[in-house]
Subunit: 383 residues, 2 copies
């Protein structure tokens, strides 16, 4: 086993701590790009309060809102232009994973001289120097981008959804204030929960029969996410469960649970094509694809799937692969997720095209390396 | 719940990766103090190889060995003098927790103008600036100091063992090469395992009935440590188990499992007096004190102790506090730990004095706040 781990993001967690945002901006910063999504965040005072505090401390700021789910490359490019034109020296992302990823892409693009999309299709590395430093105020826990190396962007021209990853993309700080999540709509809450759950599962589904600390800690975290999800189903304002979900988002994807592992990530890649083509909600694509993927790859290592059932869903000693996948789908159904493509009104029309795109740069996954036909089969299993 | 988390230590993990040590020293460093314990590390070539590599890269170095278990304040002061006299700009600690802590104390002492012991008795804070940067090559996983904020030193004049903690004490990098641990003697291996297990338990034993992700992840990690311990009992050269133990040391004490918690630490404090007075091995003091502590405080929250039994030792649904403590002691016995003070030939002579010293600066613990009489009672329970 071998790994490097470097994560200098400062986490500032707790109800009400959004008021410490500006204190965390590094000394010397002169002009901040405040990047956000919905205008609600501006109208409800969240952003204007931060902006006023900046002004009070002599920091200039420029608002740049309008990021949408599955954040667009065109907007990233627009952001890069503003950064250049306005001599911005810090980005503050206020929002969920889409906003953070859009900000990360602006940060990386700022450091790269060539065409930014090159990095997303593996033609260029994320630079080590020259990135714009980035702070985060997290409003929607899901993607883990607030403490991760990753960044996912939609190229709306080529209809591709692709990611980059680098330690240099980790934010300088992330403000994790669970109060901001108390009024999230259910659909967003639970899609976010499926996303973080899947981040653990992508690391957990390795073809290894020796169960060690990465497994037991991951199982524990998945179990706790399920517990918090059921609490929020009945009581969406439960602060304890909101806190649990917010920390889970961060720990599920900051790679502490992936140390030394062959991670899989096929289900994410297969799901991304649904978002690229139909603008489907990321967590919902995972709810559909992950169980179908599990059905398709089960013979590679049935014991690991059974172990997932035993330890995460606490099924009995004699449980089976089928019972495990059933329990997984039952949990997803209980929290209102779509289980099949038909639940999103997606038919078989584009399956071949999506499978081709998904494997355009090579096979996907490690638990089982999936080629174009495999991916097509998984879409069909999910119909 | 509220917390800040900041951990910029770069972890470099894997068999054979000790050869990357010098590559990790920051650019610009001119003269390194190589701090170590046993001369074995020099004679077997570990240290001389690193020194030769430094020379090759134009970095001067000075050897400063001889750190013992329960590292001494006098040696720290000696180190501070060498650092000043020789214009040292980096410390490399090659060894286990004692060596790392001795190096951390030198680093903190270098930044503090007053009497260094002031920081250990709460009269002064660890400075935020001016600390000497520190790298680690870990030879003995136990204390977690390679990725922690903590540092524990013995004052041999006052016979006190005290700690300091600060984010600024985290190393710049830690080389975690499990090959270095393959030939550790059993007594050291298992005392180290008890130490890391206890680091989780000190954070786990909180007076809280709502079990969340900190609990489930901690339970998972404790279960995995037990598994690895039993493997090493039969096969001390098992690389998989050595890897597990090395990562566990780090994760048990880098505070990822203490986020937002009231941690306890009474058992550590009570055990420290045994090391201060009798130079007892730290892990062995914990094996004696932790179960006795658990017996003494059980009525505060029996459910949490029972949960520890159910989830960590996988006792049945109907298990009891007594069965849990018994299972804990059985595990400790299986790995060769002393269970009572008499096993270390310690009688009741110094109990009153130790209890007084332990509570000299106030009550200890949070699960139950323990005063001098409580601590005395725990020593007696451990006789």
């Amino acid at each position: 086993m071998k790994f490097n781990y470097y994560n200098p993001t400062r986490l500032v967690f707790g109800a009400g701590r959004i008021k410490e945002t500006v204190d965390n901006i590094p000394k010397g910063v002169k002009k901040v790009l405040i990047h956000y999504g919905s205008e609600r965040m501006r109208k409800d005072g969240t952003i204007t309060t931060i902006q006023a505090e900046m002004k009070h401390k002599g920091i200039e700021s420029i608002l740049f809102g309008g990021v949408v789910a599955n954040p667009r490359l065109s907007m990233v490019k627009q952001g890069m232009e503003i950064v250049k034109r306005e001599n911005i020296d810090f980005i503050l992302a206020v929002g969920g994973g889409s906003v953070i990823d859009s900000a990360k892409a602006i940060s990386a693009g700022h450091a790269y001289d060539g065409e930014i999309w090159d990095m997303f299709i593996g033609k260029a590395e994320v630079p080590e120097k020259g990135l714009l430093p980035l702070g985060v105020v997290l409003s929607f826990p899901a993607t883990g981008s607030e403490d991760s190396t990753g960044c996912v962007i939609n190229n709306e021209i080529t209809k591709e959804k692709r990611s980059i990853g680098s330690d240099y993309l980790r934010p300088v700080f992330s403000i994790l204030d669970p109060n901001l999540t108390l009024s999230l709509p259910d659909r967003q809450t639970f899609a976010g929960i499926v996303d973080m759950f899947s981040h653990i599962l992508e690391r957990y589904m390795v073809n290894d029969d020796e169960y060690g600390l990465m497994d037991t800690m991951s199982e524990g975290l998945m179990r706790s996410i399920i517990k918090a999800a059921y609490i929020l189903k009945d009581d969406s304002k439960n602060l304890w469960a909101r806190e649990q979900v917010m920390i889970s988002s961060t720990l599920a994807h900051n790679d502490i649970l992936g140390l030394g592992r062959d991670e899989d990530w096929a289900s994410h890649r297969i799901g991304h094509e649904l978002s690229a083509l139909y603008d489907a909600i990321h967590g919902e694509t995972l709810a559909i694809i992950f169980p179908a993927w599990m059905e398709y790859v089960k013979d590679i290592n049935p014991n690991r799937i059974i172990r997932f059932g035993k330890e995460v869903f606490r099924l009995g000693e004699d449980t089976t692969v089928e019972e495990t996948i059933k329990a997984f789908r039952e949990f997803l159904k209980d929290i209102g997720m779509p289980l099949y493509l038909k639940d999103l009104n997606i038919g078989e029309t584009d399956i071949e095209e999506m499978a081709k795109k998904c494997t355009l740069y090579g096979d996907v996954g490690t638990f089982k390396k999936l080629n174009c036909t495999d991916v097509e089969n998984i879409y069909r299993l999910a119909l």
